[in-house]
Structures are given as C-alpha cells and as structure tokens.
Amino acid sequence: MNTELVRLTDVTKVYQGGITGALNGVSVTVEEGEFTAIMGPSGSGKSTMLNLVAGLDRPTSGSVFVRGTDLAKEGEAGLATFRRDHIGFVFQFFNLLPNLTALENVLLPAQLKGNTAKVRAGELLDRLGIAEVADRYPARLSGGQQQRVAMARALVNKPTLLLADEPTGALDTQSGEHVMDLVAQLHREGQTVLLVTHDAKLATRHAERVISVIDGRIVDDARLESPERAPSEVIRVRGEEAAR
C-alpha cells in the first residue's frame, strides 16, 4: 500500500554567486497518494526541492530517486523522457505559450497523438470547467482560466507526480481556491501531489503533511490529522463571566 515514490538523500544544491535557494543536506521521502506541502520563506530552497524532484535541476551532491530512478545519473534526454512520463508541473505564472490556443497548449506535451489525445484534453478541459474557452489564446483568458489550462497540460499524460509551485500566487482568492479545490479533488482520486507554498492557510487546508524548509534545511515534517471536531473543540469565543 505505502509505495515510496520520491527519495531525496543528503541532497545539497549550491548556486554560484549566491546562497538563495540553496539546499544543505536534505533527506526526505514521499509516498504514493500523499498530498504534501513544502513551506518556507522565499529563498529557503523549497522551490529548489521541487525542481530537483521534477528533473528540472540537478543536485550538487546527494541523490534524487523518483520511482526508483536516480535522476542525478540521467542525461538530458533521460530527464526529458522522465519529465514527460512522470511529472505534471504547475507554475505560479502559468507558463503557457501565448501563440497557442488553450487546447493546443494542453496538447503540446501529449504523448498520445491524434484523436485519443484530443479526447483526453477535451475531457480535462471539461472537468476543469474551461471547455468553452478551448479555442482562445492565453491573452484572452483570466488568470484562473490560464492556471486551469496549465493544470490540464500538467495532467494530460496522467503524471505520477503533480508538482505545483505557488499555483495560486498570481490569482485572486476565489480563483486560487477554485484551482486548489481541483487539485484536492485529484488527490482524493489518488493523485500524488507536492505543493510549494509560503501560505500556511493554503498548505493546511489541503495537505495532510507539511514540510518546513528554512535556509536550505528541513526543520520540521508534520503529519496532520483530520478528525471530525465539534466547533467548540476547534474555536472558543472568549466568554468571560459578566462579573458585575
């Protein structure tokens, strides 16, 4: 049942000319089906962790295993194949290609070609509530719609891991919540999710595990519980006795 999907062992990442985003001896594992949030201030290295797991970046030392593959040992072509087969990535600023329509953006990384891919993309757009804007270009979409197109693109190959780096950072509260509710729904259906955020409210709303990163180190790894609690167990309005 508990299948290990990601294993970082003593990972360091050094960036030339600065310490921002560096990692310093990070070890952590993620299991299949988990929804994990990685929290930390900007420059703490939380995005670096995500990029390493995505095969977008390489560790300076240490190993990054995803599904049994040591990414540090893969060449560029190997990493590209790995990303295509296993990773769906959602960015803060959507990263859609401006000269492609929403549907074309979703189809861009699709492995299946032709009609099968179109059907899959259509299903995703429908599910994410943006089927009616499939033929629009990104410039004609709201932020929330663009992020949902980016999500469809991330999901088109049924990725092993859905990685999201501040996916609501550029959205208004309502669009952000909508996007996160969709991610949560995917998680309930079994999708493994790694979310990077600096927002504790957001992290604890959806993730059952919160990893805190400060200065390139994991300082806490908390597994949260989800019991049904009565309102009075969760929140108590101060009720001092009227003493006069």
Binding site: P41, A200, K201, A203, T204, R205, V210, S212, I214, V219, D220, A222, L224, E225, S226, P227, R229, A230, P231, S232, E233, V234, I235, R236, V237, R238, G239, E240, E241, A242, R244
Partner: protein
C-alpha cells in the same frame, strides 16, 4: 461583556425565556461559545436590576418568565453597537512566558519548543480549515466568517513563532 449585550440584542428581536435566550445565543455563535443556563439567569437578573430588561406578565409553566427589552436597555444596546472594539491587544502569552523562562532557567532547547508549538499551530490551522469548509457547505455563513477570523489569528501566531525561532534568544538571556 458581550454575553450581556448578546442577551439584550436577542431580546430586541422578541421577548424570550431564559432557555430560549441560551439556545439562540449558542446557535448565533455556531456552537463556539457554550453558556450554562445559570449564567443566563444571572445575566437576566442583573439586567433586570439595572432596568435594562423587564419581565413580561406573570411566571408561566414551571416558573418560566418571559423578558423584554426596556427603553433604557434599547439605548444601552445601541450605544454598545456603535462602540468600536478597543482596549489592549489580547494575546495568548503562555508560549512567550515559557520561552522567557526556558532561556532563564534551563537554557532549554528553544528551537524544539518553538517547533512543537509551530506544529500545534499547523494542526490548529488544519482543524479550522476543515471547520470552515464544513460551515460553508452547511450554509452556516456566520460560523464560516468567525472561523475565518480564527484562521487569520492562528496564521499570525505561526508567523510569530517563525520570527522568534530566527532570533537568538539564548544570547540575550545570558547577558
């Protein structure tokens, strides 16, 4: 204080018995403030003594007494409603006193203390998030708004712990 005015406000809507006041008050607060019936009766008696409420008619079944708002009660309520919430900032200072003592007495492991506290706040945020979601799905907007306030406060507490853990308490304390 707000229990007193809560009672006045409910009586402005319509005359009520003690038990009705209790039930309506608790329902209004979404179950986050439980009052015992004794508190309600005491409050009603004090309000009656101060002329802010008065009994309507004689005692009914099993000694139940109906109360209504007096003109003076109405004035007191109106005045209270327009007053902004003021006074010093309320703070749960327990953790701060613990930190101060730990630095003085034992030079204890503050980072661990802070980490445990942060974890507790994360769980609190999770519980509040789940309560907010439930309140919204059940259409209990008043409760959802209250929980939202609690969420933002809990987030601030967490940030406070983050700031404290980046400071060098030990150094200051040994001076």
């Amino acid at each position: 204080m707000s229990l007193k005015y809560g009672v006045l406000g409910l009586l402005k809507e319509q005359p009520l018995h003690g038990y009705e006041v209790k039930n309506r008050f608790e329902a209004m607060l979404g179950g986050t403030w439980e009052v015992n019936i004794g508190q309600i009766y005491t409050t009603l008696q004090r309000l009656e003594r101060d002329g802010l409420v008065r009994p309507v008619g004689p005692r009914g079944d099993r000694g139940k007494l109906l109360y209504e708002l007096s003109a003076e009660g109405q004035r007191a309520l109106d005045e209270w409603l327009i007053q902004p919430d003021s006074g010093p900032q309320q703070l749960h200072e327990d953790i701060y006193v613990k930190l101060l003592l730990a630095t003085r007495i034992a030079n204890g492991n503050l980072q661990e203390m802070l980490a445990r506290q942060k974890r507790t706040y994360l769980q609190r945020l999770r519980d509040l998030n789940r309560l907010e979601k439930r309140a919204r799905s059940e259409g209990r907007v008043d409760l959802a708004r209250l929980v939202r306030g609690a969420l933002l406060h809990a987030e601030a507490d967490l940030k406070w712990m983050d700031e404290l853990s980046s400071e060098r308490f030990e150094v200051e304390a040994t001076e």
